[in-house]
Amino acid sequence: MNITLNLEELTAMLLFGIGFTMLVFSRNLLKKVLGLNIIDTGVYLFLASMGYIEGNLTPIVPPTGPVDPGIYINPIPTGLVLTGIVVSVSFSALMLALAVRLYKKYRTLNLDEIYARCDREDGED
């Protein structure tokens, strides 16, 4: 495998790995949100690299004259990235709102501590 030809894909995989590790193993809520965003960045890089064709044009079709699809880059992955960004921003906003409310209540962002204190307060099971 030629690394230079797959640099974007390798970087995307690395970003995904870093983000996923943060999302799963970090106990800090804020770091988990960061992890989510790193995962998404990796996925968007992967998508964008798939649509990019070296030397081709931005897919804006001229108003007149014949259209040759062969001279443009693939616009579909770009559209997917835009949609994905909207989704990840919504998720991040919701997670940060949750983090703010939990911090106001418990004065910590450590999830283990939050779960333990919540269980103690309720005294359930």
Binding site: V24, I39, I76, L80, T83, F91, I114, E124
Partner: protein, 502 residues
């Protein structure tokens, strides 16, 4: 194109628009708009179902803006899609109506409107998840569904739902990430997003032996992402707090409807994108079978150990989800039919159980522990009936909806070597465990009171909407249990369409 073919699109768009409109409305009007839209959705889904049942092919594709692939986006409806949308809409509406008086007290007055907006978004997402013919659109609506359901959970004015929402979000995010990577990987291999083109491309690649490993990894990621989101063991630990701490209407929607929508999407992807042959050849089904059986055991054992009614119902959901995955793990039409029926039985039963549990706990000052709930069925007879009907259905007593999938699972298990023994033993043990925890609590609620405490009598007259809704739910459960054949025939037709018409 017949006008009825526009109904799926109209339902999705109306739900999304009404979510925006509800921002500008007062609480009561917002609630009226949300509930009316669910009612309209029920009528439209029923129309699509009747249309497809009576049409020659039983299937249609709606092209958004009449653009073809790869630019266009599609909605496709066979028989299963409108049926499940109809089921989800009916159960959502009943859950909301039955739990409406609790929403008034559980949700902060300033957030009633937001609750309605989230109901609209959930409705739009569920409809889109069932009807979509595009895998990236499915991902987007999976995320919308997650955000809306999380907001429904957080709406309750206590701290514990916030903590539960955090846990729910963590598991959901892991599932979403895997799903997204799976979809992107699939796109990178095939270059398509629409189901028919994906199917053709995967078939061609698999037959020629090209990209077998990336395809298997992509399919594995998609399946595991949706399995995590729907709460398959060992990823079910978010369920207890999520289902037990939300307002009962939201608990019913989350456990009975939303988790099923993810599973329906998975079934649709297996049937229409992967194809059953490749799904079986890849070996993913065996993994699902093992985790499904584990879920049945772990969920039931956890339910036995707890002494809190809502926690017990939540753990029971994990066990019931395990049944569905056990059926998917066999990879045959008969087992798929059993899994589909299990989805119906669980969707019909679990919201009724959560509403009934709410009715019972309200008689004893909102306490949920078994000691306090002893004898509570005498103080709220309708909730007692609802709980008894739900418990008997979950146990698998003939005449209730829950019996049919157990029978279908048993019949479909034969002829699969070691899997036959695993499934039959798992079914036997799980049924015994179900009897232990459901019948114990059912007898408890009708038994003599042991704790001296102030109790509140709730009669049909004092909680009319709640009582009517619970009785309707019990009646539907009974009717489905007694007349299962039409639904089985419908599923057979639906599965045939899934696997033959592209």
């Amino acid at each position: 194109m017949r006008f009825v073919e526009n109904f799926p699109f109209i339902t999705i768009v109306l739900s999304l628009f009404s979510a925006v409109i509800c921002f500008a409305l007062k609480d009561k009007r917002a609630r009226f708009v949300s509930y009316s839209l669910l009612g309209a959705g029920i009528l439209m889904s029923a129309s699509v179902l009747v249309y497809n049942l009576t049409s020659e092919t039983g299937y249609f594709v709606y092209r958004m803006g009449h653009y073809d692939a790869p630019i266009g986006n599609e909605i496709a409806a066979g028989v299963l899609e409108p049926f499940f949308v109809l089921l989800f809409e009916v159960m959502m509406l009943l859950s909301l109506l039955g739990g409406s008086y609790k929403i008034e007290t559980d949700v902060e007055p300033s957030k009633h409107r937001l609750f309605c907006i989230m109901v609209n978004l959930t409705h739009a997402a569920l409809t889109a998840l069932c009807y979509t013919n595009d895998i990236f659109t499915a991902y987007v609506f999976v995320e919308i569904c997650t955000i809306a359901s999380c907001a429904l959970l957080m709406a309750r004015k206590r701290t514990r739902p916030l903590v539960a929402a955090t846990r729910y979000m963590m598991f959901s995010l892991i599932g979403s990430s895997l799903l997204l990577v799976g979809i992107v990987l699939l796109y990178s291999v095939t270059g398509h997003l629409l189901f028919p083109q994906l199917y053709a491309s995967i078939q061609a690649l698999w037959t020629t032996g090209q990209y077998t490993l990336p395809l298997t990894v992509a399919l594995g990621l998609i399946v595991s992402g949706l399995a995590i989101k729907s709460g398959l063991c060992p990823f079910h630990w978010w369920m207890r707090d999520t289902y037990a701490t939300a307002t009962p209407a939201a608990s019913g929607i989350l456990s009975g409807v939303i988790s099923k929508a993810y599973i329906f999407l998975l079934i649709k992807i297996i049937g229409r994108v992967i194809s059953r042959e490749i799904y079986v050849q890849s070996g993913i089904h065996t993994v699902l079978l093992i985790f499904g059986v584990a879920g049945m055991m772990v969920g039931s054992l956890s339910a036995i150990q707890t002494h809190n009614l809502n926690f017990m119902l939540a753990y029971s959901s994990a066990a019931q989800i395990g049944y569905i995955y056990m059926g998917l793990g066999l990879g045959t039409d008969a087992a798929l039919l059993a899994s589909l029926f299990q989805m119906v039985a669980h969707a019909l039963t679990k919201p009724m159980l959560f509403l009934s549990a709410m009715g019972l706990s309200d008689t004893v000052g909102k306490r949920q522990d078994f000691d306090a709930l002893r004898g509570s069925a005498h103080w709220n007879p309708v909730a007692g009936i609802g709980y008894a009907a739900g418990a008997l259905s979950m146990v698998g007593l003939p005449i209730f909806a829950g019996f049919i999938p157990k029978l279908l699972f048993s019949l479909s298990a034969f002829g699969h070597d070691w899997k036959t023994y695993v499934i039959l033993v798992a079914l036997a043990i799980s049924t015994i465990l179900n009897v232990v925890y459901f019948l114990r609590t059912m007898v408890n609620t009708y038994g003599p009171e042991r704790v001296a405490m102030e109790r509140r009598k709730i009669t049909f007259r004092t909680a009319r909407t709640f009582s009517v809704v619970v009785l309707i739910m019990a009646l539907i459960n009974l009717i489905v249990g007694l007349h299962a054949q039409p639904i089985i025939s419908l599923f057979e037709k639906g599965i045939h369409i899934f696997t033959t018409i592209r």
